[in-house]
């Protein structure tokens, strides 16, 4: 793509530092770009560092121990890791907004839904209160909440889980952000409601041209939503490509393993599922070499000793595995 990315993360390292001990690295050497109107899905299992990656973009890492150890986060070319507190606050909710798995963590239980959305608009755009409330109503309509005039005056606890998620999306999109970070936005929802929310995110993205970074553990959601896919394992990117590249030619043994482990409709009824033996290593016990090596059927001696670099194996397809591409030939 000739066009400049809206958001670019370059060699990001997230670490946790406690006392005098050397910091524990949770995410290392993470890089990706997202363009206008594009959806990048970051996929991986719990604890692989998906959420930390997203949180570090907005400098919302858990305090006091979490910090960005290295790397840059560029929003339209401006490095967010070095701007002032005031500047990053102005970015949050305006240029970049974030939605979470559990809407109650970002909704205030004692304020009406309308007031919360309106306040976000007020803070960032300084319109009159009436204009802000009008925008709130318009947003509720846009996220297709039934009877928006009534809902405007209700409190979060009066809404169902699906409706709360819609309110959070309404709030996130109220200032027309250029980037939407969505961290497992449908994981807590039923499939029929998940389908509604995914359709909604897709439609709103088409209308506003926002770049979307969607974090999920569900390859089905990836297949539905992504243009680009980034697979994470134990804090690192192990594979990246277009959604077609990843689903047609999954190349990292972990990506392949995940795909074969997931029961999906119409697939291999009653047969054994592919297992990935063992478990994800703990943060402070990640092995040297390739972090996946202890669980990998294809691992050779080198995998246990030396971390594989990311190499290009196709058009926009990269993978970090000694058994692939230049790595295999080297």
């Amino acid at each position: 793509m000739a066009q400049e990315p809206v958001l670019a993360v370059e060699s990001l390292r997230v670490e946790f530092a406690t006392g005098d001990a050397p910091p524990v690295v949770a995410v290392s050497d993470m890089s990706f770009e997202v363009h206008r109107g594009e959806t990048l899905c970051i996929v991986g299992e719990s604890g692989c560092g998906k959420s930390l990656t997203a949180l570090s973009i907005l400098r919302l890492l858990p305090r006091p121990y979490g910090r960005i150890g290295a790397g840059r986060v560029l929003l339209d070319g401006r490095d967010l890791t070095t701007v002032s507190e005031a500047e990053i606050r102005a970015v949050r909710g305006r240029a970049i907004s974030m939605i979470f798995q559990e809407p109650m963590t970002s909704l205030n239980p004692v304020l009406t839904v309308g007031r919360q959305i309106a306040e976000t608009v007020m803070v960032h755009e300084g319109l009159s209160w009436q204009d802000c409330m009008d925008r709130a109503l318009e947003m509720l309509r846009q996220v297709r909440i039934p009877e928006p005039e009534r809902r405007l005056h209700e409190y979060p606890h009066q809404l169902s889980g699906g409706m709360r998620q819609r309110v959070m999306i309404a709030m996130a999109l109220a200032c027309r952000p250029r980037v939407l970070l969505a961290d497992e936005p449908t994981t807590a929802l039923d499939v029929t409601i998940q389908a509604q929310i995914l359709d909604l995110i897709r439609d709103l993205q088409q209308e506003t041209g926002a770049a979307v970074v969607l974090i999920t553990h569900d390859l089905g959601v990836v297949a539905e939503m992504a243009q680009r896919v980034l697979v994470m394992y134990a804090g690192s990117k192990v594979e990246e490509g277009s959604v077609e590249e990843i689903f047609d030619a999954p190349s990292h043994p972990y990506t392949r393993g995940l795909m074969a482990a997931m029961p999906h409709l119409g697939g291999g009824r009653g047969k054994r599922l592919n297992e990935i033996p063992g478990v994800v290593p703990a943060l402070d016990a990640r092995p040297p070499g390739c972090a996946f090596a202890p669980r990998c059927m294809q691992a050779v001696a080198r995998c246990h000793a030396e971390a594989p670099p990311l190499v290009q194996i196709g058009g926009t397809h990269t993978v970090a595995c000694w058994a692939h591409g230049q790595g295999a030939r080297a």
Binding site: E45, G220, V221, A223, R269
Partner: protein, 327 residues
């Protein structure tokens, strides 16, 4: 699976909860968690029970186990009616029916070692000598894929998948014939989920276990079940042998549920019919067919008259005025 006598036979199961007053109403109200559910499970069979959050799946499981007292209905376990057994008689019978929960952590005593957790039911039922019990525990650990040295660890020292293995070992200690598994893999990562599903399927084959497998993930249910029952607002709306249900769903709700499942490959993306709105409240469920408020094909009759669950000879039953077996 017809012809064989069932291990578990549930008829007309009802569970109503009495809940606090509403915003304006007076007095307590009835919440219809389960409203007339019937099913039978044959030896070695898995019945998958699916439906959206709050439809009453877990309540069915709990009422069958009599962890909550059914409001009405009949539960027959291995030919014996256990619906009104006394507590002590029930406990003796419980040996034959065990349970596995979604979150094994909350159901395992944190102060007991893993070995003690698995041994406890054997002690409670006075089965074998201490040495024999220890042997059985060791065999169970090996069978579910836990290391012998892990017997001395406490639940918090296990990963989610290992805790689920521990829960399974405990459930199997007494040699049950029926296992009620309530979302046993929902909290697990995909790679570990596959391990536990495979284990459950292997154990079924080995011991001829019957499962009532409660889950909301249709992919998992399709994978593991022989037969599937779909619940909506406290009722079974459709039940059929697995392949039939997934290939030719008849109830509009089952259709919508299947259509909502994400595709498995980006080339299969399509504009699907998305079910509108939310599930109504089980306090005052809709009249007539409970699905009529969201049903894309509802007619006037649906609002007034409740459709019966009618079956055909292939074992496919559906509760819908417009999609009776004859149609």
């Amino acid at each position: 699976m017809t012809g064989k006598t069932s291990v578990l036979d549930v008829q007309g199961l009802v569970k109503h909860y009495s809940v606090g007053r509403g915003l304006f109403g007076s007095g307590r109200r009835r919440l219809h968690a389960v409203d007339g559910v019937s099913f039978a499970i044959a030896p070695g069979e898995t019945l998958g029970l699916v439906g959206e959050s709050g439809c009453g799946k877990s309540t069915v499981g709990k009422a069958v186990l009599r962890l909550v007292e059914p409001t009405a209905g009949r539960i027959v376990l291995e030919g014996e009616d256990i619906t009104s057994l006394s507590r002590s008689a029930l406990i003796a019978k419980r040996r034959k029916m065990q349970v596995i929960f979604q979150d094994p952590y909350s159901s395992l005593n944190p102060r007991m070692t893993a070995g003690e957790i698995v041994q406890e039911p054997l002690i409670n039922f006075g089965i074998g000598t201490r040495a024999e019990q220890q042997e059985r525990v060791a065999a169970l650990f090996a069978r579910v894929g836990l290391r012998p040295d892990q017997r001395n660890n406490y639940p918090h020292e296990f990963s989610g998948g290992q805790r689920q293995r521990l829960g399974i070992a405990r459930a199997l200690a007494l040699g049950p014939s029926v296992v009620i598994a309530d979302e046993p893999v929902s909290a697990l990562d995909v790679s570990v989920q596959a391990q536990v599903i495979n284990l459950l399927m292997d154990l079924q084959e080995e011991y001829g276990l019957s499962y009532l497998f409660i889950a909301h993930d249709l992919g998992v249910v399709e994978h593991i079940s022989h037969r599937v029952a779909v619940m909506y607002l406290g009722k079974i709306v459709e039940t059929a042998p697995r392949d039939m249900l997934f290939a030719e769903p008849r109830h509009p709700y089952t259709e919508a549920l299947l259509a909502a499942v994400p595709v498995s490959h980006p080339r299969m993306r399509r504009r699907r019919v998305v079910l509108k709105g939310d599930v109504p409240s089980p306090i005052n469920p809709p009249s007539g067919c409970r699905f009529h408020t969201r049903c894309p094909i509802a007619v006037a009759r649906c609002r007034e008259e409740e459709p019966a669950l009618l079956g055909d000879s292939s074992g496919h039953s559906v509760a819908c005025h417009l999609r009776t077996p004859a149609n």
